[in-house]
Symmetry: C2
Subunit: 294 residues, 2 copies
């Protein structure tokens, strides 16, 4: 039984980082240091972990990172004031605000997100960024995770034109934008979700399967056939992982699919390893666009 | 050979008009006359024909229609000024601007469209209306044609949850928004387009086929199987229609599909017969929303 080729996030990320750092160097030569502002309310553990990763990796990509840290119980108005300051600051090209916001701000989250200028919206939190993804227009930026999927597909030379792609999941952060991005590359996309009947019959007919169900072991041998490309987007907790100690895993029952599919992204080490690189590339693109307008 | 049930636009339209006129009457009782402004640049024949239809049918729906007519060679600034006036006029609840704009204005069309307030955008010409369709949020309104398809499906009690739907066409006026609207009703949607391989193999597996290819006789017996619902959105010119005199026809090779499918919309007399009713219903909804905010 031959094993599926592993599509490694770190390889796609390294390739993208290389292009980003070259573009950042060109901008610096023109007097512009591409800068990302991180907006964080409170000390949520996963926000802090992501922030640490961004800070650690930003130097290699040539991106400056500034942090705007507010209290968990900050006023809505204070947060909006900070966003407006970043909108007006020509030294900041992209803004990443951690979400979900703290509980007290949650009811206003949609409105707060839309206070950000779309041209600095490097993580797709405004309605206009979403419109851009849907319309295929240059308005803001797509979310980082579906862009990371596209980077992996491109890095490994997986052609999409005329291919059938089954996307499992219809969220605004993965499934829906990815469907739009794949369609823009002339793939024929079927969007599956919790109300879809007989998902295996749909995925087996596809050339590429993208799973963002967020359910451990939900993608099994019956979903796949020989030669398919499987992109596993989800990050689930597997209590039996890492030899019973518990660990991170995707949607795929990896061991059984590995022997059938032609290629698969591991979890960890797949899509998730590319999202920060995408964020940096968005910041550089934002700086280029703002330079053009400035 | 049994014949497919005809899904008649006029029946779905009459049902929708009834609801619209009731809602309009309730608004009038509260002192608000739901009003649509039509913005037309020049004397394009198809614009004039559509306008005449709107004027003729508006009374029964309880909608007031005002026309803003500019010259074909009007300045961009004049057109934008008229749009701003309509934005600010509390007596106008919805605006329909005929597109495409005249040739000289065409390069600015996207920007001009976005000058309209999304809450008056009853025909989905702004980015925020598009974001609303994509995100499933109440921002502006979806385009009239896909809404008309949904009205027909609903009027004839065609359940969508868990059903497989093949949508042919990926335009922003039909295919893409309809895919979003069908998905919001929990259908599993495959979007086919000009680069899709083997469309018949996809459409034959669907429960519902929506064709918006805009190509005469492109949907044939090999695309369909017994019992399917076929929604034919396109309006094509058939030189051999009406006994050789030429006439309007859809994508479906009607005679051969009628004997196979379970139900089909005729062209003319199908989806196209419902779009004006949808426009009126959007105007009433816009008036209701603006009342709530006023």
């Amino acid at each position: 039984m031959s094993k599926a080729r592993l599509l490694l996030g770190r390889e796609a990320a390294a390739s993208l980082d290389q292009r980003t750092s070259e573009a950042a160097a060109a901008l610096k030569a023109a007097g512009i240091t591409p800068a990302l502002a991180i907006v964080r309310c409170g000390e949520n553990a996963s926000d802090l972990a992501y922030e640490a990763g961004v800070l650690k990796r930003s130097k290699a990509a040539g991106i400056e990172v500034r942090r705007v840290i507010l209290k968990e119980n900050c006023e809505k108005e204070s947060l909006i004031r900070e966003i407006h300051k970043l909108n007006e600051d020509p030294g900041v090209h992209g803004v990443l605000m951690f979400r979900p916001l703290p509980k007290a701000l949650k009811p206003y989250e949609g409105g707060i997100c839309n206070e950000l200028s779309p041209e600095k919206d490097v993580d797709c939190m405004t309605d206009l960024s979403n419109a851009g993804v849907y319309e295929g227009k240059e308005l803001g930026f797509p979310p980082c995770t579906p862009s990371a999927c596209m980077e992996i597909l491109d890095y490994y030379g997986i052609d999409l034109e005329g291919k059938n792609v089954a996307v499992i999941g219809r969220s605004l952060v993965v499934g829906r934008p990815l469907a739009m991005m794949l369609m823009a590359r002339h793939a024929t996309v079927t969007i599956c979700h919790t109300r879809t009947r007989d998902i295996p019959s749909i995925t087996r007919r596809a050339d590429v399967i993208v799973s963002s169900a967020g359910v451990l072991n939900s993608l099994t041998a019956e979903h796949v056939r020989e030669g398919q490309v499987v992109i596993d987007v989800s990050i689930n907790w597997d209590p039996s992982g890492k030899g019973g100690k518990g660990g991170i895993a995707g949607d795929a029952a990896f061991d059984e699919i590995e022997g059938i599919a032609g290629a698969i992204t591991p979890v960890p080490g797949g899509v998730g390893a590319v999202t920060t690189s995408v964020l940096f590339s968005h910041v550089v693109t934002a700086a280029q666009r703002q330079k053009g307008k400035g």
